[in-house]
C-alpha cells in the first residue's frame, strides 16, 4: 500500500515536534453489497474506502489526523498537522522499520471479489425466497449479501511495518409477517471472517431465510409481554449480547482508563457470579470478530476476562494502556482510517457451564425465556443497559409456554452478572456489529443458555 521508505519519512515528520510514539494506519478496502426487496435485486453497492490515519503520542496526550490523500506529499501534510498540534519540541527517537509477517490464521478459500455477481445473487435469492415462500403470512422480505475486503497497513515508531487482509462475508434476511392487520419482523444474519466458501459448509442460505420467517410468524401471533421483575433465561448464541453490553463495554480501557467504568479498580476481585467465566478471543479461526493483528499491529489474543466470577483482565489498547500502566491486549480497533482507534471487543462470550438446559427452564416457576435477543446499549460508567428481546416466550411451572412480543430487559451490569446463577452447556456464537467512538466494527457475541435470577422486563 505504502512503501517502508515512505512510511519512515512520514513517521520522522510525525515525531519531529517531540512525540514519543507515532503510527500510520493505512487502509484500502472494497465493500460490496447486494440488497433484495419486493422479490427483486434492488440495489448493489460497490465502494472503495482508501486513506490513512496518523497518530502521535507524547505522554498521556494523543493527536490523530486523517487524510484521503495517500500520496507521499499528502501523508507528509497529514503528519505535519499532527506534529504541529502536539506543540513545540524536537525529535528524540529514530525511525527504522522492519517488515514483520504475523501470518494468517483465517484461511480464505474463495475471495468474494473473484466470484461473479450472478453467483452471489443466486445465493442471496436462496435465502430470500426461503423466507418469502415460507408462509403466505410473510408479506415482505429484505435480504443483503455483504462482502468486505479490508486491507490494512500499520507502521510505527517502534519499528513495526505490517499488513493484514481481512475478508468477511455476511448474509442477512429480514422478514415481515402480518396477522390481523399487525406486522412483526424476524431477523437472522450470520457472518464469518471467510470468503464465499462460508456457504459451502458453515451457513446454509436457505436456513437463514427460514429462521427469519419463523421468527416473524411466531411474533406476529404473539401477545404483549407482561411487565415486571422476573427470572429470565437467555438463549445461546446472540443472547451473549447481554454480556457484551452489560459487562464487556465496562471492561474496555476506553472506559476504565478514565474512571468511567463500573469495574474500575476491581482486578482480582469477584464481580460476577462464580458460575460465570467470560472470554474475549480474537484468535478463533474464521470467526466474524477475529483478527490476526489489531489496528495498532498487536497480535490478537485470547483473554479470560472473568474466571469463575473473578475479574482477570481488562481489554487494553496502547494509548489508554499508558494511563493504566498496562500493556496492550491486542484490543485496538477502528472502523476505518478516519476514526481514532480505541479498545474494543473481538469475539466475546460466556464459557460453557455445568447446568443442563432442561434444568434451567424447569427451575423457573414464572419468568421469560428470551430465545433470540435484538441489540442493546449500555452506559459503561454506571452499567445501566437495555436490550430488546426479538423472540420471547413465557415460562410457567418450568415449561415454555406462549410467545410474547415487545419485551425488553433493563438493569445494571454489575447486578446482572452477579445474578447469572445458571449456565448451560450449548455455547454458540452470534454475529453482530458494535458501534462506539471508533466506529462500527464486526464483533461476535456468544454464550450457552443462561438464567438470570431476576431482571426488569419491560412490556405491558
Amino acid at each position: 500500500m505504502i512503501t517502508r521508505e515512505v512510511c519512515e519519512r512520514v513517521l520522522r515528520k510525525a515525531i519531529s515536534t517531540g512525540a514519543d510514539y507515532a503510527e500510520i494506519f493505512a487502509e484500502h478496502s472494497v465493500n460490496h453489497s447486494i440488497n433484495m426487496i419486493a422479490d427483486k435485486v434492488d440495489n448493489i453497492s460497490d465502494s472503495v474506502i482508501a486513506g490513512a490515519g496518523i497518530r502521535v503520542f507524547k505522554g498521556l496526550r494523543s493527536v490523530a489526523a486523517s487524510t484521503t490523500d495517500t500520496s507521499e506529499a499528502g501523508l507528509l501534510r497529514c503528519a505535519e498537522k499532527a506534529a504541529d498540534a502536539l506543540g513545540q519540541g524536537s525529535a528524540e527517537i529514530s525511525i527504522n522499520l522492519t517488515e514483520r509477517l504475523f501470518g494468517d490464521i483465517h484461511p480464505i478459500k474463495t475471495v468474494p471479489s473473484s466470484v461473479p455477481v450472478a453467483e452471489k445473487i443466486r445465493i442471496l435469492k436462496d435465502g430470500y425466497f426461503a423466507a418469502r415462500e415460507y408462509s403466505p403470512e410473510i408479506k415482505q422480505v429484505s435480504g443483503t449479501l455483504l462482502d468486505i475486503d479490508h486491507n490494512i497497513l500499520i507502521a510505527n515508531s517502534e519499528g513495526l511495518y505490517a499488513e493484514d487482509r481481512q475478508i468477511r462475508t455476511r448474509i442477512s434476511v429480514n422478514a415481515v409477517a402480518e396477522k390481523n392487520g399487525e406486522s412483526q419482523t424476524g431477523f437472522y444474519g450470520p457472518g464469518r471472517r471467510m470468503g464465499m466458501e462460508m456457504f459451502e459448509h458453515e451457513v446454509d442460505a436457505k436456513a437463514v431465510g427460514v429462521r427469519a420467517a419463523q421468527q416473524a410468524i411466531t411474533m406476529a401471533g404473539a401477545g404483549y409481554c407482561p411487565a415486571g421483575v422476573m427470572p429470565v433465561a437467555i438463549g445461546n448464541g446472540f443472547g451473549g449480547v447481554i454480556f457484551h453490553e452489560a459487562c464487556g463495554h465496562s471492561l474496555e480501557a476506553s472506559s476504565v482508563a478514565y474512571g468511567l467504568s463500573q469495574f474500575c479498580g476491581k482486578l482480582g476481585t469477584q464481580i460476577a457470579n462464580p458460575k460465570v467465566t467470560a472470554i474475549d478471543d480474537g484468535t478463533i479461526p474464521n470467526a466474524w470478530g477475529s483478527i490476526n493483528i489489531d489496528d495498532e499491529g498487536t497480535p490478537a489474543q485470547r483473554k479470560v476476562l472473568i474466571e469463575k466470577g473473578i475479574l482477570k483482565t481488562y481489554m487494553v489498547d496502547k494509548f489508554n494502556g499508558r494511563r493504566m500502566g498496562l500493556p496492550s491486549t491486542g484490543s485496538a480497533r477502528r472502523q476505518s482510517y478516519s476514526y481514532v482507534t480505541t479498545s474494543r471487543m473481538t469475539n466475546t462470550f460466556i464459557a460453557e457451564g455445568e447446568d443442563s438446559n432442561d434444568d434451567i427452564i424447569a427451575s423457573m416457576e414464572y419468568g421469560l425465556f428470551a430465545k433470540e435477543m435484538g441489540g442493546g446499549s449500555v452506559n459503561p460508567a454506571t452499567g445501566e443497559f437495555n436490550f430488546a428481546v426479538n423472540e420471547g416466550y413465557m415460562v410457567r411451572n418450568g415449561k415454555i409456554c406462549e410467545p410474547v412480543r415487545g419485551a425488553s430487559l433493563v438493569g445494571k451490569g454489575s447486578d446482572v452478572i452477579m445474578n447469572i446463577d445458571m449456565v448451560g452447556k450449548n455455547l454458540d456464537l452470534g454475529t453482530g456489529m458494535c458501534g462506539a467512538s471508533s466506529g462500527s466494527i464486526p464483533t461476535t457475541v456468544g454464550q450457552p443458555l443462561i438464567r438470570v435470577s431476576k431482571i426488569t422486563v419491560g412490556g405491558r
Binding site: 448493489i44 460497490d46 496526550r61 490523530a64 487524510t67 490523500d69 502536539l86 460508567a381 454506571t382 419491560g458
Partner: protein, 448 residues
C-alpha cells in the same frame, strides 16, 4: 487529483462507454475535535474524509459505484463498475435524473468563520474549569470536548444539473460525572452553532444539574400512567419512527401509512411539519440529494395525514410530485428518503400546565436503546427510560432503570396535550428532529 479534474475523467469515461444518463455526487468533510481530561487536553483529532459516487441508467436500471480514491484509474473503474452493477439489477422502478435549470429557493448562508486550534484549546480548557468549578460533587472522568466541522456536497449530471453546497459549524460538549461517594451519575450536553456564540456555561450547568438530579433515584413503580415526554425524549422517538412517513418504506410494506393520506392518524391538534429552511437548524437546504428543489410541508395537519415524504422514484410510483426529500446516507449510499427539520408543532400550554394536566404519572427526560427497543415496522417500542415522577401535577423524585412501552401509531392518537415551545436538541444536520413536551395517556411502565 482534485474533484474537478476527477469529474472530467469521469465524464470522458462515461462518454467513451456510450452512457447517456449519469450523475456524479461528491461529498467531503473536514473536522477537528479536541477533548480534555483532568484539566489537560488529552485528545486532538483532525479528520478529512469524503468520496464520490457515480450512478448511471443502463437499460432502465440505476447502477452505483463509489470511491474515495480520486485518480484517473478509479474514475474509469467506477464508471465501468456502475454500468456493470446496473445490469444485475431487477427492480422495475422508473429511474430519474433531475433536469438542470430549475428554480431554487435561496437558503440562508450559515457558513460560520472557523476558529483556529489555539482558540479551540482555550475553549475546551475554559469549559473544563467551569465544569469542575460548577459543583463539589463533580469528579475526575468529567470531560469537555469542542470542535469544528465543515462539509461540502456537489451534484452534477448529464442533464445539465450542477449544484453545490457548503456548510460549517462548531460544537461544545460537557460530560459531567458526579458522585456523592455512593452512587455515580453522568450526563452530557452538547451545544451547536457559530463558535463565538456557543453557550459554554449553559451547557456545563445543564450537564451538571442533570447528572446531580439522577444521583438519588428510584425505579418507577410498574403500571399504566400518563407519560410526559420531554422534547429530548420525544425527538429520539420521532427520529426512530419518522420512517413510517417514508414513502419507500410504505410502498415496500414497511409502514402502515400507504394510501392513507386524508385519514386521521393522530389526535386532532397534532401537526407534524418537515421544514428544510427551519431557522434554528444550522443547515438550510434548497435542494435534495437528487438535486430537486426542497419545500416546507405539513406531513400531518390537525391529526390528518397530508402527505408522505417522496423522492422522484417513489413519487412517480405513487403518481404524485416529489416532495424534495431524496437523501443519501453518505456519498456511497443509494438515494433514499429523509426529512429535513421534522418537528411536532407546538400546542398552547406551558410545561407547568402540561404537568398539572398529567396529575400523577411519569416525566421522561431521556430514552435509551432506540436502535434495539423500537421497531419501526410494527411501531412497537419498549425503551429504557429515565426522568421524574409526577405527583399532584409537579415533578418529584428522579427515576431510572425502568422501561416505557407502547406502539407509536397508537401513541400519535393518544397524545392529549402539547407544550408551547418546540426544542431542537441537536440543531445541526441535514436531518434534525424537534418537539414540544408531549403528554400521552396510558402508557405501560415497567420498573420495580
Amino acid at each position: 487529483m482534485d474533484f474537478n479534474e476527477f469529474k472530467k475523467c469521469v465524464i470522458n469515461a462515461a462518454q467513451s462507454l456510450g452512457l447517456k444518463e449519469y450523475e456524479l455526487y461528491y461529498s467531503a468533510s473536514e473536522s477537528t475535535d479536541i477533548g480534555t481530561f483532568k484539566h489537560e487536553i488529552n485528545e486532538f483529532s483532525s479528520a478529512e474524509d469524503g468520496g464520490v459516487c457515480f450512478r448511471c441508467i443502463v437499460g432502465g436500471k440505476m447502477g452505483y459505484a463509489s470511491t474515495e480514491e480520486l485518480s484517473a484509474a478509479e474514475a474509469e473503474s467506477i464508471v465501468k463498475r456502475a454500468a456493470e452493477n446496473a445490469k444485475a439489477l431487477e427492480n422495475d422502478d422508473t429511474q430519474f435524473l433531475v433536469e438542470g435549470g430549475q428554480e431554487y429557493r435561496k437558503a440562508e448562508d450559515k457558513g460560520y468563520p472557523l476558529p483556529d486550534t489555539p482558540e479551540l484549546i482555550a475553549t475546551a480548557l475554559k469549559g473544563d474549569k467551569a465544569l469542575y468549578d460548577a459543583d463539589p460533587l463533580v469528579i475526575d472522568g468529567s470531560q469537555c470536548g469542542t470542535g469544528v466541522s465543515s462539509f461540502k456536497v456537489a451534484i452534477a449530471n448529464s442533464k445539465g444539473l450542477d449544484l453545490s453546497y457548503e456548510s460549517s459549524t462548531a460544537y461544545f460538549m460537557a460530560a459531567a460525572v458526579v458522585s456523592d461517594g455512593k452512587e455515580m451519575s453522568d450526563e452530557f450536553k452538547v451545544v451547536h452553532g457559530p463558535f463565538d456564540k456557543l453557550d459554554i456555561d449553559g451547557a456545563v450547568k445543564e450537564a451538571v444539574e442533570k447528572a446531580k438530579a439522577m444521583l438519588d433515584y428510584d425505579s418507577a413503580p410498574t403500571g399504566n400512567y400518563p407519560v410526559v415526554f420531554s422534547p429530548e425524549a420525544m425527538t429520539s422517538m420521532l427520529g426512530v419512527f419518522s420512517g413510517i412517513f417514508n414513502s419507500e418504506n410504505a410502498q415496500k410494506g414497511l409502514s402502515r401509512l400507504l394510501g392513507r393520506e386524508g385519514e386521521k392518524i393522530a389526535a386532532d391538534f397534532v401537526s407534524i411539519i418537515d421544514d428544510p429552511f427551519y431557522p434554528e437548524n444550522g443547515i438550510n437546504l434548497s435542494f435534495d440529494d437528487e438535486g430537486s428543489p426542497t419545500c416546507t410541508k405539513a406531513v400531518v395537519e390537525n391529526g390528518v395525514l397530508k402527505t408522505l415524504l417522496y423522492n422522484l422514484k417513489t413519487a412517480n410510483k405513487a403518481g404524485v410530485k416529489t416532495t424534495g426529500n431524496a437523501s443519501k446516507a453518505g456519498y456511497s449510499a443509494s438515494v433514499g428518503i429523509r426529512p429535513f427539520t421534522f418537528y411536532i408543532a407546538p400546542g398552547n400550554i406551558s410545561e407547568e400546565e402540561l404537568l398539572k394536566k398529567a396529575e400523577n404519572g411519569v416525566y421522561i427526560t431521556s430514552l435509551g436503546g432506540l436502535h434495539a427497543g423500537a421497531n419501526s415496522v410494527s411501531g412497537d417500542f419498549s425503551l429504557q427510560s429515565s426522568g421524574f415522577m409526577i405527583e399532584n401535577g409537579v415533578k418529584t423524585k428522579a427515576v431510572k432503570s425502568f422501561t416505557v412501552s407502547g406502539n407509536f401509531y397508537e401513541l400519535l392518537k393518544n397524545i392529549s396535550a402539547l407544550s408551547d415551545t418546540v426544542k431542537l436538541p441537536r440543531p445541526y444536520g441535514k436531518t434534525a428532529f424537534g418537539s414540544p413536551s408531549v403528554l400521552v395517556e396510558g402508557l405501560s411502565v415497567a420498573g420495580k
